[in-house]
Symmetry: C2
Amino acid sequence: MSNKFLSLTNLNFLLFEVHQLERFLKHHYYSHQDKEAVDMMILSAMKIAEKHLHPYLKEMDRQQPELKNGEVISHKQIKKITSVFGESGWYSATISLDEGGLQIPHLVDSAANLIFMAANNGTYGFTGLNAGVSNLILKFASNELKEKFVPNLHIGKWQGTMALTEPQAGSSLGDISSSASRTSEEGEFKIKGQKVFISAGDLQHPENIVHMVLARIEGEPEGTKGISMFIVPKFRFEKTKLVSNDVKTVGIFHKMGQKATPTVHLAFGEKKNCIGYLVGEPNEGLSYMFELMNEARISVGIGAAGMASAAYYMALEYANERSQGRVAEAKDSVDQVSIIDHADVKRMLLKQKSIFEGCMSLILQAAAYADQVKTKEGDLRDHYQLLLDLLTPVVKTYPSEKGIESVSEALQCFGGYGYCEDFSVEQLYRDIRITPIYEGTTGIQSLDLLGRKVLLKNGKGMQLLSKEFEFTLRDASQFEELNEITAIFDAGADELKKVTQHLLAFAMRNKIDRYLADASVYMELFGLVCVGWQWLKQGVVITDACRTNVENLENPFYLGKIQTMKYFFNYEFPKTHSLSSTLKSDHDITLLTDKSWLE
Amino acid sequence: MSNKFLSLTNLNFLLFEVHQLERFLKHHYYSHQDKEAVDMMILSAMKIAEKHLHPYLKEMDRQQPELKNGEVISHKQIKKITSVFGESGWYSATISLDEGGLQIPHLVDSAANLIFMAANNGTYGFTGLNAGVSNLILKFASNELKEKFVPNLHIGKWQGTMALTEPQAGSSLGDISSSASRTSEEGEFKIKGQKVFISAGDLQHPENIVHMVLARIEGEPEGTKGISMFIVPKFRFEKTKLVSNDVKTVGIFHKMGQKATPTVHLAFGEKKNCIGYLVGEPNEGLSYMFELMNEARISVGIGAAGMASAAYYMALEYANERSQGRVAEAKDSVDQVSIIDHADVKRMLLKQKSIFEGCMSLILQAAAYADQVKTKEGDLRDHYQLLLDLLTPVVKTYPSEKGIESVSEALQCFGGYGYCEDFSVEQLYRDIRITPIYEGTTGIQSLDLLGRKVLLKNGKGMQLLSKEFEFTLRDASQFEELNEITAIFDAGADELKKVTQHLLAFAMRNKIDRYLADASVYMELFGLVCVGWQWLKQGVVITDACRTNVENLENPFYLGKIQTMKYFFNYEFPKTHSLSSTLKSDHDITLLTDKSWLE
């Protein structure tokens, strides 16, 4: 198996050159660390990944968790992984120093997560959730609850989960039926209900599991308005002892991939003895959960980009080593060439590289916005929050959808071997397929983008994003080497603007169904333009560096970047033409179809 | 699990209305059967599928074959399936009456195969191969060999395989190193070599396995010119007894999907006691094998379309039954709607329907050409053969590539449940991923299309295909209801012509590498235009039928066809724009990339 799963050269290029991490390190909030400290953190993340995550990728797939006598039997490496994360502080990396965290920039945290998930994407189920859950408690819960739950989550002794979905309420959270009834204790409720698809919902090794549960307090309104959030641990404190809290694992899901993480069906309060601790105010559960959901959505994008990166380096190694066939100009040669010498194999590799490196840059763009939010104030802070909100569903979806294509091309590079278990690329192909589903399907993300984010504050987010495009176009206009690419991007960005106007006309005429009917197609166009933007940004940095130092024109990393950017704009970006043609065509096809027509 | 895997209404529509099967039944070669007989055959295929194939889909995936003490343990239903196929004559369906076959039209045979593979695609590994191998022996081997091997293949007592690939020679067949040395017996050779990825290469139940092996006779030229074909049975006759023929199963491949079929690694002649019987002339092995390969390629397309069909009906059933969320105009309703009421779910269903029904029509188009070849003579026969040759790589590739997308959309309709083993859609997602790989990867098919088929006889095939498009355009021009769609198709067909001219200019300047660099992208455009053509053909038939009988305008089948055609031309077909933009852009991106740029 290839040992490379991610390029540190590329990651550092994106962090320091493209997204200019150092400007944040100058801000007082982050000034307790310098570039050297960040370099050390990235290297330490890489070491953790190489030692504790990557070697277990295959094994954790093969030994899938099972439910035996009501207990989940899970892989023993999970214990090691969670304790290493606890010890090294990654669970609380973006938490403030005051609250016991490392207070590192989101850019660095996202970069580390790219490393971890490229090495072994299954770890997101534990590490990503744990960090998210403790952030959530710190943000909204009482000091008492913080003290009770956060420290053990931060050191990885306990595991956090998010428990939203119910059998009858998946995407439609307003329909959850889990209930909470008041007890005589202030802030303590009896919880009753069923939750499904709970990642890491039960594990063998952590001493406790901390579920963030959405439930409706008795008497509160139906729908999304009456949902509250509770901390419901597997074991609760009675005085100083941990006792069972009536949370039962009643089923385990056997999945196509993502087998490292147990995904379970939980029953809360079957014996009427399950206590939940209210987080924050009643009926505010959904808005709190969206904090975690937004983080989780970005994590899904990170995982998808990470998997595509890992699959790429497997394919690259194979393509260099595997001999097969001859190239056209040396048809009669005795020796076979490495398959990487075939144009079509290079095309498949460039496609992957253009997708996952573009995705990584977009992910780090979102992280940079999160850092702007932390380091700016007033209107400027709001602007960056709006940009982050706008990009969040895109950062989840584009890497997920295109990451699948990318891993599929990696598998294709292996030919028949890619279909077999000997190599891990087939595992990544199975693993990555979850990404357009969990933490909100592509359909849901697309409705969020077009139905909420584009409309937010009278379209202010879209205006700000256009400005961002313009800044990059202005930078690019200084380099005639980029003229052709710049023109292609400019036209695509313009197309997105026109399509948005075209669709908004339906919204203004109150044809909401029609406005939203092609939201998923719009999402594809939107993502494509955003990733094009990130490639142009990279192009500017590279071209500038080559002008500053002509030796860079012989640097394979720089040359590879230029070639991959060209690939993206010649092969991927032209899809803007067909997407905008679809989005602007005058039809109601998906609205008018009678069900019986589909039989 | 949904019991529906294919629509007979659609299949009969394609057979009789679109591809006009009855015109072939009038020809003396096929006149021993009438429409009623064909209807009976299709119904009988459906019964076999429903009784013997479909109920075992999941089970055959779960109980994957294993190699134990040198023996392959495979699913016991295989024995039943092969004997049912033998008894009902499907192994020899297209063989002439004289040679013991049923002499049925290829259209009917392809339709039956669509049924079988939609029900349980794994059966292709047995049934498809058996029919192909016996066809091959009948076509090229001596009468003695025919008598020895064909009858037992036809009744399903023996199993046929194709043994081409070697560890160092996958796509590059000229590099095979298996050898054949003459014995004192005329036509008998000692075989020595290793073959990998042999589907159904060893099975528990058939009494014998008949391998069609490519090997080089000692002293014959290197490369493709010196390859001969041999029949190498697992057990050979010595007088009237079957004795071991020194064919050993040395490994079994554990695959991501397609688990019903054992895929094995075989060693021939390890004890120097493996006899192969020469088929036809020495050094003609590759050209013979291409007969079987061409059949196999079309079978792969059939399998892919079949799987996409099966996944669609699973998704359709789920979408009708699963309640979730509300539609925009009734946001505050108490009851949730079926997810099929959401536009995005309808979009996903229409996408699938537009892909697999379009693919089925293209597959049957190729079958109709095969029937033309059987029933025409002289130039006309050659024309249809050329059209069949041109379409063969497309019929393999488009259903494979787009079938994956289609099954993926089916999985997406299930949300998280689609990712779990409870439903079989995840199995189909794994199963279908082999289709762009085996029997020649998409890259190889694309080189065949652009590098051979387009150039054949000075581009005569392309001219004939353009004529075929024109016939359909002429038919469509009679119906103003089709004006918009007709114009879209016309523009796409024209784009294909222009792109072909653009690329041919490279070939004429002897820039063969550049000519072929984007063959896979060309293939995608070519496939899209061909399937567009098939949708327009269907549109003509439907529109005509609605004019003839206005009641058809209330028939859900007809309305669904019209809507699906509109979907195809508004959502899928516009991809011609981006593909042609990529193909016409002036670059050498995939040729100029230095390997080190990809690190």
